[in-house]
Each structure stands twice: as structure tokens, then as C-alpha cells.
Symmetry: C2
Subunit: 627 residues, 2 copies
């Protein structure tokens, strides 16, 4: 797990170090702390907020702009009908148990796991028992209600804080509810994912794209999940920023034109099959993975590879990420194939980006419920076809007179017959035979008689057909990536346990350079002001530290919040208009003319220049000491 590009980690407790740093330098903090805080809610302080903004900006560049995706921005408030249709109202739940004395709530599977883990500590357990307990651990997260209830009873699980008895597990929906409007009659939820906003806008997106497929829509925004008992710090929170892509394709053509560009890139895969057997991670190219049908299709594999490139660029260590395929019992029934990008942290492997082929599920359920056909149109390859249809001639006046205010339903039903040959054929047979047909489009019966409608078989030329696109969805949890990034980039300087460093890539670093006058001398101040203006004009964020602490101490303060470069203004600056430029990880310094430093930093921060190029071009500067 070492990484040659950064100095080796000392044996420190990474998590404790990162958490102390996050708190001390206000990266991320529990929200509403002056009032005792609320579990699962966190605020981003200035460095955390800047890292998040940089991550979003690079995500937009790497995904949305690079692939010409249609980025949209939908509301978090969502009416019930949307989430009922998507299945979230019925199924987006975890199981909760209650302490029957205090009323405290626990997540049932976590409680069971905690209990079993304690049992496993016992060194005298038989191999059989160990196997039994490990089986329970692997089942707890996916077990249905009755199985979970049975296991909690079997192992006599109690409330962990006080040993009180607990209730049987019941499902608890994880969506936050609220009422929209003053009447209290419109039930709403805070969205648990951004994806639904894209699906309900599909028709407009397709129009915007000139009716052409494939295309991808993207959205960056906050989602909300009312976790039963948030734990694991930033990894399971109740409000979080997601970035989601919905790539719409023809169901029969999931190849991707840019796939050849990435086919030779290697990756680590933990397949569904291997999870049940060897648990081995295989290293292979995305091209081989598709060819050998390990990954279902090119488009899914293409996005997995783009995700991998993204994560590597922002600072996730390649050897600490992998893709884990969903096993059949964790995958939704409609999904074809799912792979989670997992990142290794002190909490173990953490799911950070989901990649799912969701087939046509979402568009289909919303089409059915809303009666708005969310379909695309495709011309036949070999020219127009002639098909059998029925011409339907409706006596609207008579139907209006007969059914009055309800006439719309039977009118819609009859109009639809011209689009559905089989349905029209059956309808017509019955009409011819009985002189009438009783229809029931929703809840009401309507008797249609021969004088209301005439059907005549005919032929029609059609140029193509409608189809329901499939969707491939990469879905990013940005908070989890940020936390992982902090762990991966944290290290302690060799020989000095007090000096921790965040080796964040310049593109993600919260501030690009520090700007330090060597002393408080009045001679240096105008140079600091001038350079600060040059940096601002070039769009390079700078943190000026004029506190007068020893220069080494000031470097240490900027190292630990991940600032990659430091400009020091000293008395040579006054003499020859040059400054020293220091790089955080090597701690090497060069002397650079004032007039060149802003452009140099801009190139370094946009990944157009490497530090070694700077070392080669400019004279080295060797300070007497960093302390």
C-alpha cells in the first residue's frame, strides 16, 4: 500500500491524524456544534469548501464538458408521485429496532453485526461456530425482515448501551418527508438521489439534443437520506452532494465510440463470482474485461475507466481503489450489471462511485404512470415499412353527449386504437359480433356502441419506431471521495512527527500557493502586495501569512492544509526582483523572477507543467534550514 510518488507514511494512526487535522484547521466540522450538533450533519469550513468546489469544477471538466453532456439542475423537493413511481416510497428503507425501555433506535443489521463481532473475539470458538458467525456477518446487510428478526432472536441481541430488550425489526423509510404548500395535502420528500430529476425531464433533454441518441445528462446537487444511526464520520451522512450521469442508449447498441481509446488501460476487478469463492481481485484491461464478458458492455466499461482516471487525477492512490461487481442478491431486479468503485480507507473498502446499467426501468415506470411516453424514435435502417393499421373514425359528438364530463377517457381509449393493431383487431371483432364493447380504461366502465366508432383496416407507411432507451448511470458521492482523498494524501514528514502534510494534487488543493514575507520588514511589504495582485489577476489563489513566525513554522502550517507551493519574499527580492518558490512534497526551492511566478504557478496548477521541469529550468535555492 505504499506509493512511490509521495514520501512513505510513518506508522501513524492515519484516521486519528486526519480527524485531528480536519477539526483543527476547519476542513469539516459537525454542524450546529454550539448546540451539541446533529448526528450525520457536517459543515465544510474554508479549506474543505475549497476542496469540494475544486472537485466539482474538475468533475464538470472531466465528465460533463469533455463528453458534451447536458447538465441540468433540478429541485431537491420532490412530490410523492415521483418517488412512489420510482419505487423509493415502498422500498427505500432500512430495518430499525427500538430499545423497548428508552425508545432509542438502532439500525437492525448494524446491531446484529456488532453483536456477532463481539462473539467472534472469543479465542476458544470452534471452527464450526466461527463459520456460522461469519455467515451471519455476510448475510446481515441483505437479509429480509423475517430473517433478520429470526437472527436477532436467535443470538439474543440486546440494546448495546444498556442491555435492554429490543423490538422486532421494522422497515424505516430513509426519505425526509415534508408538506409542500399551505394545505398540507401535497406530500413531498427531499430527493434521496438526483437521478429522478433527469428521468422526468427525459423528453425535454432528448428534444434539446435534436432527438438523437445516445446522449448523457448530468447533475450535481444535494441529496438527503434520513439514516437511522449515522456512524463512520463523513462516510454515512444525512445530507450530501452527489454528481450523477444518466447515459441514454439504444438497448441493442451499448458499444461506445471512444472505448478503443481506453481499452488498454488496466484496472482491478472484484467480480461477483470471485466474491462467492476466492475473493481474489484480478488485474486486467477494460478491453479484456468486455471481451471476456466480465463487464457487461462497452459503455459501462468506458464510464468505469473514465471514473478511474478521474479518481487517480484528483489524488486517490491507484493501488487503493478497485471495482467490485454487485452480487445478484444486492442488485435491483431490473439492473443488468453494477460495479462500485471502492476506495480503501481506515474504515476498509468504501463504495464511492456506483456504475449501474439500469436497463429501461426508470423511463418505463415514469412513462406508465405519467402517460407521457418517454421514448426515442429511430428510423428503420432499410427505409420505410408498410404496416397494417386500423383507421378509427370516432363520433365525438355522440360520445360527448353520452358520457358528458367523463368523455375524455373513452375518447383517449379509441384514439389509441389507431396505434395498436392487435388491440384494435380484438376490439373490432367484439364490436362486430355484439354491437357493443364495454371498456374500462381506469376505474369506470364505458359501453361503446357501433354508432360511436367505425374501424376500417388499412395500411400505413412508417419510417421508424419508438423505443425505450436503456440508461447507464455513474453516480458519485463527493463527500466520500473527499474523505478518502484526505486519508490518501495525509502523511507525516520523516523525522518529525509533529509535521503532517496533505499531498493534495494542485488541481484539488484548497489554495494554490502561500505568499510569505521572510520578516516583518517594511521593505518587503510592497513586494508582497505586488505579487498578490499578479497572482489574483492570473486566477491563482494565495494565502498571505505575515504573522512573523519562523519561516519553517509557516511552511508547516501551509503543508498541513495541502497548499502545494510557497513563494517567499526575502531581501534578495529587493535586490534582484526574484522570489523563492518551494514545492510542498520535495521541499525543494528555486529562485524565480517576480514577473514569471504567476504564469509558472498557473501552468503547474493546470497540470501543464511538472515540478521537475521547474527544477531543471530555474536555479536551485538552498535555505540554511526549514526551521
Amino acid at each position: 500500500m505504499s506509493n512511490p510518488s509521495t514520501p512513505p507514511n510513518k506508522e501513524v494512526n492515519i484516521r486519528a491524524g486526519v480527524e485531528d487535522l480536519m477539526k483543527r484547521r476547519f476542513f469539516i466540522t459537525p454542524a450546529f456544534q454550539i448546540y451539541g450538533g446533529v448526528a450525520g450533519l457536517y459543515d465544510y469550513g474554508p479549506p474543505g469548501c475549497a476542496i469540494k468546489a475544486n472537485l466539482i469544477s474538475y468533475w464538470r471538466q472531466h465528465f460533463a464538458n469533455y463528453e458534451d453532456m447536458l447538465e441540468i439542475d433540478c429541485t431537491a423537493l420532490t412530490p410523492e408521485i415521483v418517488l412512489k413511481t420510482s419505487g423509493h416510497v415502498a422500498k427505500f428503507a432500512d430495518f430499525v429496532v427500538k430499545d423497548t425501555v428508552t425508545g432509542a433506535c438502532y439500525r437492525a443489521d448494524h446491531l446484529l453485526e456488532g453483536h456477532i463481532e463481539k462473539l467472534l473475539v472469543d479465542k476458544t470458538l470452534s471452527e464450526e461456530k466461527i463459520k456460522e458467525y461469519k455467515h451471519i456477518l455476510s448475510r446481515a446487510g441483505d437479509a429480509p425482515q423475517d430473517e433478520l428478526a429470526e437472527m436477532l432472536t436467535k443470538y439474543a441481541v440486546k440494546a448495546p448501551d444498556n442491555g435492554n430488550p429490543i423490538s422486532a425489526p421494522v422497515p424505516f423509510n430513509l426519505m425526509f418527508q415534508t408538506q409542500i404548500g399551505p394545505t398540507g395535502q401535497l406530500q413531498g420528500y427531499l430527493r434521496p438521489e438526483t437521478a429522478q430529476g433527469i428521468f422526468v425531464n427525459f423528453k425535454r433533454l432528448l428534444d434539446f439534443n435534436g432527438g438523437r441518441l445516445p446522449f448523457a445528462a448530468a447533475q450535481i446537487g444535494n441529496s438527503f437520506r434520513n439514516e437511522i444511526a449515522p456512524r463512520s464520520g463523513l462516510l454515512r451522512v444525512r445530507e450530501f452532494t452527489m454528481a450523477e450521469i444518466e447515459h441514454f442508449v439504444h438497448p441493442d447498441r451499448k458499444n461506445h465510440p471512444s472505448f478503443p481509446e481506453v481499452a488498454n488501460i488496466k484496472t482491478y476487478l472484484l467480480t461477483a463470482k470471485s466474491q462467492g469463492t476466492t475473493k481474489e481481485v484480478v488485474e486486467m484491461t477494460f478491453g479484456d474485461a468486455v471481451a471476456q464478458k466480465v463487464i457487461n458492455n462497452e459503455t459501462l466499461a468506458y464510464f468505469m475507466c473514465r471514473t478511474q482516471l478521474f479518481l487517480h487525477t484528483v489524488g486517490i492512490k491507484p493501488e487503493r481503489m478497485r471495482f467490485r461487481q454487485h452480487q445478484s442478491n444486492e442488485m435491483a431486479h431490473y439492473a443488468t450489471d453494477c460495479w462500485d468503485a471502492e476506495i480503501h480507507t481506515s474504515y476498509g473498502w468504501v463504495e464511492c462511485v456506483g456504475h449501474a446499467d439500469r436497463s429501461c426501468y426508470d423511463l418505463k415506470v415514469h412513462s406508465d404512470k405519467s402517460q407521457v411516453p418517454l421514448v426515442a424514435f429511430e428510423e428503420f435502417k432499410d427505409g420505410p415499412k408498410t404496416v397494417d393499421v386500423f383507421d378509427v373514425k370516432v363520433e365525438k359528438g355522440l360520445i360527448g353527449k353520452t358520457f358528458k364530463g367523463n368523455a375524455k377517457e373513452p375518447l383517449d381509449f379509441l384514439a389509441e386504437l389507431s396505434n395498436n393493431f392487435d388491440k384494435a383487431l380484438n376490439f373490432n371483432k367484439e364490436l362486430e359480433a355484439n354491437g357493443k364493447v364495454t371498456i374500462k380504461p381506469s376505474n369506470t366502465d364505458y359501453v361503446i356502441t357501433k354508432d360511436m366508432v367505425t374501424l376500417k383496416q388499412a395500411q400505413k407507411k412508417i419510417s421508424g419506431e419508438n423505443f425505450q432507451p436503456h440508461v447507464i448511470e455513474p453516480s458519485f458521492g463527493l463527500g466520500r471521495i473527499i474523505y478518502s482523498l484526505l486519508e490518501h494524501s495525509y502523511y507525516v514528514r520523516d523525522g518529525d512527527e509533529q509535521r503532517c502534510v496533505l499531498a493534495l494534487p494542485p488541481i484539488i488543493a484548497p489554495v494554490k500557493t502561500s505568499l510569505l514575507p521572510l520578516t516583518g520588514s517594511e521593505k518587503l511589504a510592497p513586494f508582497v502586495a505586488r505579487i498578490n495582485r499578479l497572482l489574483k489577476d492570473a486566477g491563482i489563489s494565495a494565502k498571505v501569512d505575515e504573522t512573523g513566525s519562523a519561516i519553517g513554522r509557516r511552511y508547516a502550517r501551509t503543508d498541513e492544509i495541502g497548499i502545494p507551493f510557497a513563494i517567499t519574499v526575502d531581501f534578495d527580492t529587493v535586490e534582484n526582483q526574484t522570489v523563492t518558490l518551494r514545492e510542498r512534497d520535495t521541499t525543494k526551492q528555486v529562485r524565480v523572477p517576480i514577473t514569471e511566478v504567476a504564469q509558472l504557478l498557473k501552468q503547474l496548477c493546470e497540470n501543464m507543467l511538472e515540478w521537475k521541469d521547474v527544477l531543471a529550468k530555474y536555479p536551485a535555492y538552498v535555505p540554511t534550514s526549514e526551521n
Copy 2:
């Protein structure tokens, strides 16, 4: 109201044109439309989303980065205690009336206004009546519950849709409620503003800033208001993005070091006084406004000016914006001075940015409630002072034994005496006189006897003192600015009513250039691909249109979504490696070498070059026709 920099508007109905354009080109659309939509909820489609992202990005550059503000990112979910303390739970409400037959809800003041406006249509009204009605119109929005009830009764206001009787007005809190966590016991709200997140983090922000004042914190994020009856399209919505700044200053020093830089800039002011009398808007410099005490202080005026510069740069027409001062009846009791930046639209003057001097209200109420002192420390100018204090020696053991589990309260009370000379003096007098003192820190009485505590008067050197900073708050509603921007930049080309244009500045335009092959010829395609790559590498977003429509039609399509430039690849491109570059508002074209076009556009879009410079440098290109 004409603007010399853009072609004059034809006499068109701007609002209808903008709304048609927004819908047709998917700028902004009612959310969940396939399910009939939800009032007050809107989604941003690709061009709207890009405009919003550009606006946010420029806001960050113009405010947060330029002034080294501390940007943070807090949760929207907020526990009740925070919003009770801020006053929102008690007071953030509008009055609602119900149709007593159907149950439909209406905002009481709007209903009254609508009713009175209808009465005013009558041409035969006496002058006295007209005066009476106009008075009602000016009162409706600010009237308290009983006055509103009286007016609704007096004018016999009914439900507007059906003439049904209505209930008396009752307050309806505008915050969305929800429960946090599974027990249902933690009442939460969606924040109605982002500011509270900054106030509750004040202590950490001050620490991050090295304890120094003044400093500003900033936040960009979504807020939620459960409007009773959203109307006016995008101007009154239930979920919206805000950008807020909280600038913390010493109460006695509201001057601003950068004020001289902006003092000579002119602005339009509608003062509180003039609203009651002449209703005249005065033009004056910010410097004069502060000198003549029209604007309360330099810091408030400085931010108003920065807001004005921001709005002008993003495309708001200078002659269609002004600052309106709050009248005393609309200002919160704690506020010192408030000015709204108002923008003129087809809906009239719209409040888009509030500027308020909120004094120390927010920090004080949160300090009092949380018992965490949200204060800053300042050293005395003339060195340390010697002050009288009491040394307080507490017999902790005895107090612990006496009060057991409740001992913390009296212990805290006694410890606090060493910080409050007067309180200690009184306490000690009573203790000396009676041998005991009964204290009641919150709900419980404690009898403190002489053996529990000894007070001795002494002197202490102190270097400075704590104080509660004041806060000056500029607060931006981004959706309102975006809608105003669309109205201000919309025009119809002279002589062609079908061709509408959005004259958005390049910095805000959703896409920076279009890229058009003149024909579908295979010879042109490789040039399009090459230029697209050059543009992407330079970070210039481009929309390729290869549909083969007439070039004039394709220009028109890009004009109406505000794309400022167009590159056309023609057969001369194949010959001499140049393209035509067209500017949207002048429709003038030049020929530019392929190798220079990306950098040229980058400079144009970053406001480092003007179109007239391009016209001067490159050879003009005169096409035969745009159609």
C-alpha cells in the same frame, strides 16, 4: 430605458418572448411537468444550468476570492433550536386565508391587493375613494393580523375563483418542516436562508482567521420557503440558490479600507424618506451618500457598490437598477440600515440583493441560547489596564456533597463571579450580611452558605476585552438575477421579428462559441474536429452544429441562447487554414488563423480583449447573406 451598447428593442412583449424562449430552448422549466408540475418548483435545463454555474463562478471570483472571504458550506437541514433562536420559528410567516367551502388557500395580502386593484378600475371613483384604496394597497403587505382581518371584512373580500367566503387570516410559517432521525423526536426545518450556518460557526471562523477582525464569511447554497401561493414565475419560488456574505466588524469601526477606491462611483438611490414623499430616485456617488449620512456607514456602502459592479458586469442594465432603502416599518427592530438592490423587469422593480446592517443581533441571540460566547477579543490601544476583580475560592468538595448531581450549576455560577465585578460585589455583600445567598441560575434554587465560597477583592491586569461584532450582510437571490438578466439581454433583430437574441456577456453566456461547418462536405469534418479539440484544451465550451441547415438559421439558433461567438469552417479553411469568427450582436465577421482562434476566444471570454480590438487586428469577412 434604452441601452446604447445593444441594438434597440423593438416593441415586443419582452416577458412573453423570454418565457417562450426559456421553454422552447430548455433554459428553465416547471419541475415534474410530466406529472402536472408543482407550483414554485423549477428545473434549470442545460443553458439555464450553465448560466447559473457561470454566475456562481463569477460571484466567487468577484466577492469571495477578491476579498479573501472565508467560504463555507453548511447543511440545509437545520434543527429547531437554531431557527427558534434566530426568530424564524416565531416570525417567519405570511398570513393565509382559506376558502371555507373548497379549503383552497390564498395569501391574505395578495388577495386583498387583487380585490382593491379590481375596485380601482372603476373610472367613476371619487378622488377620496381612490386615495383610500391606494392607502390600502400600500399597507396590505406590512399590516399585522388584526388590521388585515379588518380590511378583508370591510371590503368583503371573497375567494377569487368562485366567490366563496373566506376564513380570517392566520399566520402560516414559511419553513418546510421535517423530522430528523428515526425517533420522530428531533424537529427540523429546511433553512430559509444560508446565513444561520455562518453565525453558528462564528467561533471557528474567527479562529481560522487568527482571531482578527474584520473578516467576511460567504456561502453559496440552496434555501427553501414554503410560499403560500407562488406566482410571478421565477421570482417567487419554493427552492432557490442564494449567495450570502456576513462581514463581521467592530461595532465602532464600520469604515472600510477599500472604500476610497469606490467612493467616486455613482449610483441610483431611493431613500426611505423619499418613499414617503416625492418617491424620487437620486443619483449620487457612494462617497457622498456616506458623507451625507444617506447610507449608514462605509462598509455597507462598499458592499452596495461591489454589488452594483457585479450586476453591471454580468449584464444588468445600469439604468434599470437602483438601491431602495427599507422604511422603518419593514426593517427588523435590530437592523441599523437596509438597502435592497432592485432590478427593473416586466414585473416592476424586483428585490434581488439585500444589504443589511444587522448589528450584533444574530451573534447575541445564539450566544445567549447556546451559552457559547460568540465574541471577538481586542487588545486595549493604550496597553493593559488594571481592573478590580474578586478572587473566588470555591469549596468544590462541599458543594459536590451538598448538591450532588446538580452541583455543576452552582459551580458554574460561582466561577463566573470572578469575571463580573458588580455581580460579585452584590453577592458578597449579601453573603456577609446573611451568611447565605439563594441563587437560581436557571430553574432550581441553590442556597450558598459562607463555608462554600470565599470572595476576596483584588486587582488584575487585563490586556483587552471581548466584544460582540456587528455583521453587515449582502444577500443574493441568484434565480431572480438570472431571470432579470434574461429580460435585460433579450432583444429582437431589426427587421426580423422571428430572430430573437440574448445579448449575454461572454462571461455569463452558457456556451462561448458555436462551431459550424458551412456544408456537410467530408473535407470540412477534420477541421471541425481539430478546432473542437483546440477549444476544449483551452477550456472554451463550444456547440458544434452539423445539421446542415442554412448557416443563417444556425446563427439564429445560437443567437437566441446567447452564444456570443461563432466559428465557421468553409472551403477557404481547407485552402489557407483560416476560419471566420462572428460576433453575435454586431454580426460582423473576421477571418482568423485556426492556430489563433482558441486563444483569441479565451481572451474575449475573460474580458481581456474587446471585439473592436479583434475587428482592428484581423481582416473583415463579408458573407453574401446571413440567410
